[in-house]
Amino acid sequence: MISIITAQAPLDLVIDTNERDVEIQSGISGTKIVLFGATPSGKRDIIIEVVGPPKNQTMQEKRRYFGFWLGRGKSYYKNVPSYYNLLSSKPLKEITNQESLNKLGLGIEHLPLGKANIKYSSIKQLKFDERLRSEMFEDGQFLENEENIVLRSGPGKVGLFKTEFSLPPNSLQGKYFVRYFLFQNGEAISYAESIIDLKQAGLARLIWIFANKFALLYGIIAIILSGLLGWVVSLIFSRYKLT
């Protein structure tokens, strides 16, 4: 399966670059994306964040009712980024301080999750937000990869950077916003943005779409496949008189 991805906006973070590109390789385990480009040379650091298309999420709070722990308090989040990846050329704290990360909204803990509609719950939204972030992190949908960007010096006064990461196999189709921040002495000195348009989904996502769009047909196929496999196994066992 091949994903067709186009870099719509040029990577114009940097002065005098014509090295701008995105490279895609997709497979069963996900879609590999390579970002590379050029920066003005010198002691500079790069932070890149990738924000995937929005998806609705539901959180549930278990509460005690008559001695039973039951999932009752649900909260519905609209337009949570389905994917987030923060990549940097050095450990974040060596690049800049917490204050400017806050200001720029960089990192999982600063990612806006949208407003949640929380029912039945007395607990504040902050608690739900925090749990949503950590669940997404555990699922590998929210990532932070420090020191994942490789810097090299290119010809003349140009520095080259390269980074690669994999989109999970269930990644949504749509626009992935890539934001590049150039830091010098702890200050963000330049910013650029580009869009990766994931046009075709991975196999897992295709199965999901099929199960949702053609639910009846999917059910019939599920039954036939299961029956067929059961039949074949019984054939094999009776053929070789294993029972």
Binding site: E61, F128, G140, N170, A211, N212, I223, S226, F237
Partner: protein, 305 residues
């Protein structure tokens, strides 16, 4: 190796699920049950969302029960006529069960329903089997045997029919009712219902043990197929990849289990199954009573997002 389940929306290690399928398959081959009553709670323990576990397990049982039925058909141990009667009840029951399931999904009580149904049925069936096997082994005080006490009212029911294979001339009401109840359970619990069907066929319908397992499996194929279809259509919770991995392990395990079963005596076999059923029920209940590590969780799996 890792594998991403498209509907359950989690990444799993497929070898764990192959081994799980195989172990439950061995038990199912030994006891003549589908094994769903064990598999569904274990899937939930391994992190599969309950609604997906239920639907995918039904999908898995379609294949495993078909495989088993073929074996029993060769030994002419299936009463198709009686099976069809159970099936008729089962189809009606599964539609009712799905209706209940859907409305509970909407108000977020589906996990409670699944757990409570499991607890009630596993503990009662488990205790009954344990009691019965101890009784027949002579461990319990001999009570005055009431002669055919559950036969009397069943014999009196109307609409009687002859079932040659089972050598029975009985009313069609008990098989329809048993099928109906199992159909409801199948859709709520994602099980074939063998662990309820088999005792009911032996103790209520009084079928000869030789045709019980084959006939039960025969009707389970169709009930679980309908349940799979209904879940796929209404809830989009059938994970085809998960079902096929379990089936691959389970089909092999079942054949091993059949071999092992011939080495164990009937009452001991029933006692072992009784203990197993009872302990799964207790584990499920403790899940409801013990405070979870994290009270706020993300709902994964299923359709519509």
């Amino acid at each position: 190796m890792e594998l991403y389940l498209p509907i359950a929306e989690i990444t799993i290690n497929p070898s764990i699920f192959l081994i799980l399928g195989m172990s439950v398959g061995i038990l199912s081959g030994m006891f003549g049950v589908g094994g769903g009553f064990l598999m569904t709670p274990l899937l939930v323990l391994l992190g599969i969302p309950p609604a997906v576990a239920v639907a995918s397990e039904a999908n898995h049982i379609v294949g495993s029960s078909l495989s088993g039925t073929i074996g029993h058909l060769k030994r002419k141990a299936v009463d198709i006529k009686l099976g069809n009667l159970l099936l008729t009840g089962g189809i009606i029951g599964s539609f009712v069960g799905i209706g209940v399931f859907n409305s509970l999904i909407k108000i977020g009580l589906v996990d409670l329903l699944i757990t409570l149904t499991y607890f009630l049925f596993l503990t009662s069936v488990g205790s009954f089997m344990l009691y019965e096997s101890l009784d027949s082994l002579g461990y319990l005080k001999k009570k005055k045997r009431r002669k055919n006490y559950h036969h009397s009212w069943i014999m009196g029911l109307p609409f009687r029919m002859r079932f040659k294979k089972s050598g029975l001339y009985i009313s069609i009401i008990p098989p329809l009712l048993v099928g109906f109840i199992v159909g409801i359970l199948a859709s709520i619990m994602g099980v074939g219902g063998g662990f309820i069907m088999i005792p009911a066929m032996i103790y209520i319908i009084r079928m000869p043990t030789s045709v019980v397992i084959g006939t039960s499996l025969y009707q389970i194929i169709f009930v679980t197929a309908i349940v799979t279809l209904l879940h796929a259509f209404h809830n989009q919770t059938v994970d085809i990849i998960l079902a096929l991995i379990l089936l691959l392990g389970g089909a092999v395990g079942a054949q091993i289990g059949v071999k092992l079963s011939s080495k164990l005596e009937g009452p001991y076999l029933r006692m072992a199954l009784g203990v197993l059923v009872l302990s799964v029920g207790i584990v499920m209940a403790s899940d409801l009573l013990i405070k979870p590590e994290e009270t706020i969780t993300l709902i994964r799996g299923g359709g519509s997002h």
